[in-house]
Amino acid sequence: MTRCDGCGHCVDICPSDIMHIDKTYRRALNIEPNMCWECYSCVKACPQNAIDCRGYADFAPLGHSVRVLREEEKGTISWRIKFRDGREKNFISPITTEPWGEKIPRLADLAVPSEEALESQLLCYEPDALNIETGLPTIDKSKFKQGVYY
């Protein structure tokens, strides 16, 4: 039996629009595996860990598995790879260094930039965010060459 409870998180996140809810069983399924990129967005999003992947039938022999657990609160992602012959490998990586989303600014709260700044070549937070003393680099137009050689 599937662990899927039909919550629809996978449907909501799938970049390819191929996770759908079956109208009879009210559970999720992949309606178009040949447009799947194996990006695992659905697997990572599933609160029930109900989605198992098998490699594409045209080149991946049976018996393997690649499983994942993404934990936003812990800021980690954990992988378990099982080979067809039973060997296993485990990996864990960070996914963020900050409490989720907190350090991302709301630009509308910053001071309104001047008309002069709007005319300049600088982007938001520049030149400071470039971490260089010399300001935004530019180039002398009179040196431009047209044609083949450089």
Binding site: F83, R84, I104, P105, L107, V112, L118, C124, I132
Partner: protein
């Protein structure tokens, strides 16, 4: 069809919420404090675009703060890799800003690895820095969400709208909601196209269930090109498709393996093969083979020739590097962070690179403007570093007024990658804000007829299916319609066989291109009879339309350039040599929106650094 129409009037509309689009939404808010900024995204911005599954490296970071590279170095690198031709002004402009983008990503929580000895970002190669980027896209999406007034997920934008009171001025876009079916009319003073490049225009190596295992995401449906092309924007370098040398079947990336893990390639008999093809390649491209680093296409060329000579498969020698446990972890995490499918292939085939040297392959071609090639729309550069010919008032504005681009959409800016695409989005956004300031009072006229006509066009595939379905008992064979998958497979077959795909070892010529063009034209006619069973299939129908239009453009460009500029990406059998005398130039195309006729021209290459 009784779908309701939903109107949204805004100042800046961002089409596509990938790296370019999120950068555009973010920066628009800073400069356009009182402007209404709206994003229309085909999927969900948390996991959309090419970075949906994450990345293990940021491939474009100068490191100006440590004097690692300067923007001039980036220009030299990008033009060398593309055999002498990029838009150097655009490349320089992106490069001088990209570090500020990356520094912000780190502040927001993206884990950038540090070199334990120097404390600097951990370099993978000269340009790349290593990251734990599983959540790269959700982090960046949050920045866009905090900036935009409204983000519409699940809207497939099908067409741009044009102002009827002046020629050549964009006025918004239309599309449909893939969930509700609602028709959305966005009226905007400026539009930034951040949509995706083109996968699945050439037949992929994987077939059947695995056809989605393309190198670039299957949802990159060439909207970046089709939307501007359909309103008559000029395009550039659309012949400059890319073929990737990657791990076989999973298309797992090789960058970290070559650069950081120091693995190398050999043929089936354990021989180094690239140097064997030196004289042969020199005969085709002259001194370009002596450039450092060797342009990617020329390394592909040696790979393809070695395979043709019967000494495949080509292997990546990993057994030595993977004895180091640290390198082994990097090798695996590299895939898990951005191409899970490769780990799946190796697990299923019992390939442990510690004990087996895995096979490599060359992929089917892709057309895109943000990775290592530069197909896309012809756009203005920035005032201070662009030659006069390349500057028409607003940075990153296409040849249609008020229409801007970033990421895959923008032509001439190779090697931008994720960070560079976000940066381009920022540049386009600032310019769009200035455009709205200067022209925001213009009264844009979009008649009901304009969007009502588009509405009936957009939903036609549903109607075709509903009517045609009555003629058959069941199944997929109908005398009056074809399904989106049928059309897609025909498109891929035409492009593969006539325009330089895998089955002909990337070879084409004038007679083949002309034949391909004819077949594409009949495909276009058949696409009026495409049948969509539901809204999901309607999305597929419009993705196919976009791919078909972009493919036409690719064939026109490939025919126009009478030389083989990038052996290893494609070959013109009738002009096998690189021809700097006649073709050290950028190619431009324009499709007349009324007649559908194409015109081609050359534009000069300006070298802005030595």
């Amino acid at each position: 069809m009784g779908f309701k129409t939903v109107f949204e009037d805004c100042d800046i509309l961002v089409v596509g919420g990938g790296m370019g689009g999120t950068g555009a939404a973010y920066e628009s808010r800073y400069w356009g404090r009182d402007l209404k900024i709206v994003v229309a995204e085909k999927a969900n911005i948390d996991r959309s675009g090419a970075v949906a599954q994450g990345l293990y490296a940021i491939n474009c970071y100068m490191g100006m703060q440590w004097d690692e590279n300067q923007p001039e170095d980036h220009v030299r690198y990008a033009r060398n890799d593309l055999m002498g031709m990029v838009r150097e002004d655009l490349a320089y402009d992106m490069a001088r800003h990209v570090d500020s983008t990356v520094h912000k990503f780190e502040e927001w929580g993206l884990p950038l690895m540090r070199d334990p000895e120097t404390g600097r970002y951990q370099r993978e190669g000269k340009w790349q820095i290593m990251i734990h980027g599983e959540s790269y896209k959700p982090i960046v999406a949050e920045a866009a969400r905090k900036s935009a007034d409204k983000i519409y997920n699940r809207i497939m934008v099908t067409h741009l709208l044009m102002d009827e009171s002046r020629p050549n001025r964009v006025g918004g876009a239309v599309g449909f909601n893939v969930r509700t079916g609602d028709f959305h009319v966005f009226r905007a003073k400026a539009v930034i196209v951040g949509a995706g490049g083109a996968s699945h225009i050439f037949k992929p190596r994987s077939v059947g269930e695995g056809m989605g295992r393309t190198w670039y995401a299957p949802w990159s449906s060439a909207s970046a090109y089709a939307l501007p092309i359909l309103v008559g924007a000029k395009m550039t370098q659309m012949e400059n498709r890319i073929v990737l040398c990657r791990f076989k079947d999973g298309y797992g990336p090789v960058g970290a393996y070559f650069l950081h893990l120091k693995t190398y390639t050999q043929n089936a008999y354990g021989e180094e093969y690239e140097s064997k093809w030196y004289d042969h390649t020199k005969n085709l491209v002259g001194e370009y083979i002596d450039h450092h680093p060797t342009p990617t296409c020329l390394r592909n060329h040696a790979f393809i020739e070695e395979m043709k000579a019967g000494r495949g498969p080509i292997h990546m020698v990993t057994k030595e590097a993977f004895q180091d446990p640290h390198k082994e972890v990097i090798g695996w995490e590299n895939f898990l962070g951005m191409t899970v499918g490769q780990a799946v292939v190796w697990a299923s085939q019992d390939i442990d690179p510690k004990y087996t040297n895995p096979e490599l392959t060359t992929s089917e071609p892709y057309v895109m403007g943000s990775h290592a090639t530069c197909s896309g729309a012809w756009a203005s550069g920035p005032e201070d570093v662009s030659p006069d010919e390349y500057y028409w008032g607003y940075n990153r504005m296409m040849t249609v007024e008020g229409l801007f681009g970033a990421g895959d959409a923008l032509g001439g800016t190779a090697h931008a990658f994720s960070s560079g695409s976000f940066t381009e989005g920022r540049l386009a956004a600032k310019a769009a804000v200035r455009f709205v300031r200067d022209h925001g009072k213009d009264d844009i006229k979009i008649s009901d007829k304009q969007f009502e006509d588009l509405k009936s066009t957009v939903y036609k595939p549903l109607e075709n299916y509903e009517i045609g379905r009555n003629e058959i008992v069941g199944g997929t064979v109908s005398p009056s319609y074809i399904l989106p998958i049928h059309g897609l497979q025909r498109l891929e077959k035409i492009m593969d066989e006539y325009a330089g795909g895998i089955s002909n070892n990337y070879m084409t010529n004038e007679p083949m291109l002309l034949r391909g063009m004819h077949l594409l034209k009949t495909l276009q006619e058949d696409l009026d009879h495409i049948g969509a069973e539901d809204l999901h299939q309607l999305q597929r129908a419009w993705e196919l339309r976009h791919r078909a239009i972009a493919s036409e453009c690719v064939v026109q460009h490939t025919l126009f350039r009478e030389e083989t500029r990038w052996p290893g990406y494609y070959y013109r059998g009738d002009f096998m040599k690189l021809d700097d005398e006649n073709w050290h130039a950028l190619t431009l195309s324009r499709r007349d929106p009324e007649s559908g006729e194409w015109t081609m021209e050359k534009a000069p290459v300006y070298h802005i650094v030595d």
